[in-house]
């Protein structure tokens, strides 16, 4: 695989790192299986693309995309906590509705951004080539998002959000409005995903109505792969694992699709995804078996260290 192709894979991987952080927040922290992301990712892309074409500053357009995404997450949570619609169903309803919304926002099935300014073209400095600049900018964005989320989790409100997902009844008895925090959490999660969508269209040169397909699978795959390669009790490490998982995932996908000798083509993307996720899910079991065969190999060293203390 060429250097440019590798950097391209890392670039998309970093964008999906934001998706992974969002999915981690909804699935793992708030314990809300939220499929809205399949709609909020293209929503972010659609809003950003449509506004940039309409002459908005790309940064303002990206900010608007985040707000739009947050609103969609808010809506999903609202359907659940206020109207008591099942979590999964609430998110599917919003996801389906967003398909129409996205078409309305874009006015047509796709928008090209080839000649328009983007956050990347505005940040161009020192004549850094595009294939280096984009991953660097994205790296900065992802690192900033990760650090902000880590700080949030360490705050009083963030801790309350973790309790909301971990033990809602206990959380309420401690004076936490679990409904309110679920709404905020999903807004934050989908805001992040929409940011990813907005950056995706700007880095890939256009928005397409079908770009959201399978976002949730990729996000979950990233979280699962991350948790497998970097199992940890500390949240700071886990959020890092999510981002790493996303980058590795995209990298392996690119590797698989670019290696002629395997014979895989772009249309095999979803098949490769499924195999990768299945593999990641198998690793912990396999590790345990290994530990059983050789007593010296510990399945989960973090456990042992903590208990011994």
């Amino acid at each position: 695989m060429s250097l440019i192709a590798s950097l391209g894979a890392i670039e998309i991987g970093l964008i999906f790192g934001l998706v992974a952080l969002g999915v981690f927040l909804s699935f793992r922290i708030i314990n809300f299986p939220d499929l809205t992301v399949d709609g909020s990712f293209p929503l972010g892309g659609a809003v950003a693309a449509a506004l940039i074409v309409a002459g908005w500053n790309p940064f303002a357009a990206t900010a608007a995309a985040i707000v739009a995404g947050a609103l969609s997450g808010y809506l999903t949570a609202w359907l659940n906590v206020r109207l008591r619609i099942m979590q999964l169903l609430a998110s599917i309803l919003v996801m389906i509705a967003l398909y129409s919304v996205n078409l309305r926002v874009m006015g047509k099935p796709n928008i090209a951004l080839i000649d328009e300014p983007t956050v990347f073209s505005l940040l161009e400095f020192g004549g850094l080539p595009d294939y280096l600049l984009k991953p660097l900018v994205l790296l900065a964005v992802v690192v900033a998002a990760k650090v902000l989320i880590d700080l949030f989790f360490a705050s009083e409100v963030g801790l309350a959000m973790r309790a909301t997902g971990g033990n809602p009844r206990m959380a309420r008895s401690q004076g936490i409005s679990t409904d309110r925090l679920t709404v905020w959490g999903l807004a934050l999660s989908n805001g992040l995903v929409a940011l990813a969508g907005a950056l995706f269209v700007q880095s890939q040169g256009g928005a397409d109505i079908s770009m959201g397909l399978g976002t949730i699978v990729v996000g979950l795959a990233a979280v699962i792969i991350g948790e497998t390669i970097l199992p940890a009790r500390s949240l700071v490490i886990t959020t890092l694992a999510c981002v790493l998982g996303a980058v590795l995932y995209r990298f392996f996908i690119a590797l698989a699709l670019n290696s002629d000798f395997i014979g895989l083509k772009a249309q095999d993307l979803n098949l490769v995804t499924a195999v990768l996720v299945a593999f990641a899910l198998l690793v912990p079991t396999y590790k345990r078996k290994l530990a059983g065969l050789w007593p010296g190999v510990r399945a989960n060293p973090t456990h042992v260290v903590k208990e011994a203390k």
Partner: protein, 264 residues
């Protein structure tokens, strides 16, 4: 101070499995009193506690804590007044969080939560000090996940958490029922110590008549969703389990045949 007036709760109303759990329950608990609540299965003990905490809404009646009428407030809105320890050791703490994080949550019970750090050096110091009175060595395991602790340890921490911030009433819902006898005794002693030290107003539901008489300053018995026995002071001091049974039979004109109450 707690004032519960005419509480009524019916589960599944208008269906064949309709169950009138509370049927006009009245109970006043003055400030500083430690009340033990007994009653057979289905008498409405847990339902009453859940009504006070706000986990269950009452169909009729009113609940007043100190000067505030909390009848229409949800559980989280009452948490500045009510502290509680659940029956299930898993229910009162969050196992995915560490000991110190659980305590930090309780530290802010009923208060506004900010975007500032939930844990500071000063707070950790305070938590360590509080945990050391348990004599369980937990003060050295602040950053251990709650899930690593045994049921008894978790109940002990739950108790500490409930007493971190002042409350107007402390609710203990058979909080030793899931523990082995030795651990249960330890947690009960701890309960008595904490209630005593903080001069707390408390209500403890128990399945054991023995416990009900040994702890607290007043004992009430619930039956069919109402208070049918209420003993305190000198009368209570001289009482033993058979006396309590006898009194029940006299007031109700029926025999109490719940093995659990008799044997526990």
């Amino acid at each position: 101070m707690l004032r519960a007036k005419g509480l009524e709760i019916t589960f599944n109303p208008g269906t064949p499995i309709e169950n009138r759990v509370l049927r006009g329950l009245d109970l006043n608990i003055p400030t500083g009193q430690f009340v033990t609540v007994i009653g057979s299965n289905g008498a409405g003990k847990s339902t009453f506690l859940n009504a006070v905490s706000g986990d269950l809404a009452v169909d009729r009646g009113s609940i007043q804590i100190d000067d505030s009428d909390v009848t229409r407030r949800s559980a989280w809105q009452r948490s500045d007044l009510v502290a509680r320890v659940f029956q299930d050791p898993m229910a009162g703490t969050c196992e995915a969080l560490t000991i110190e994080e659980n305590m930090a949550l309780a530290w802010k019970r009923g208060a506004r939560r900010s975007f500032g750090f939930s844990l500071t050096r000063k707070l950790r110091e305070l938590f360590r000090e509080k945990l050391s009175i348990l004599n369980l060595g937990l003060e050295n395991r602040l950053s251990d996940r709650m899930g690593l602790l045994s049921g008894g340890q978790r109940q002990a921490v739950s108790l500490l958490m409930a007493s971190l911030q002042p409350s107007r009433i402390l609710l203990l819902d058979e909080h030793t029922a899931a523990l082995d006898p030795k651990t249960a005794a330890f947690v009960l002693e701890l309960t008595a110590r904490i209630v005593e030290a903080g001069k707390l107003t408390a209500m403890m539901v128990t399945h054991s008549m023995r416990q009900a008489l040994d702890y607290g300053t007043r004992t009430v018995m619930l039956h069919e969703g109402r208070v049918i026995l209420d003993v305190k002071g000198v009368e209570r001091a001289g009482m033993d389990v058979p006396d309590l049974l006898h009194m029940f039979e006299k007031t109700r004109g029926e025999k109490l045949d719940d093995d659990k109450l008799l044997l526990a």
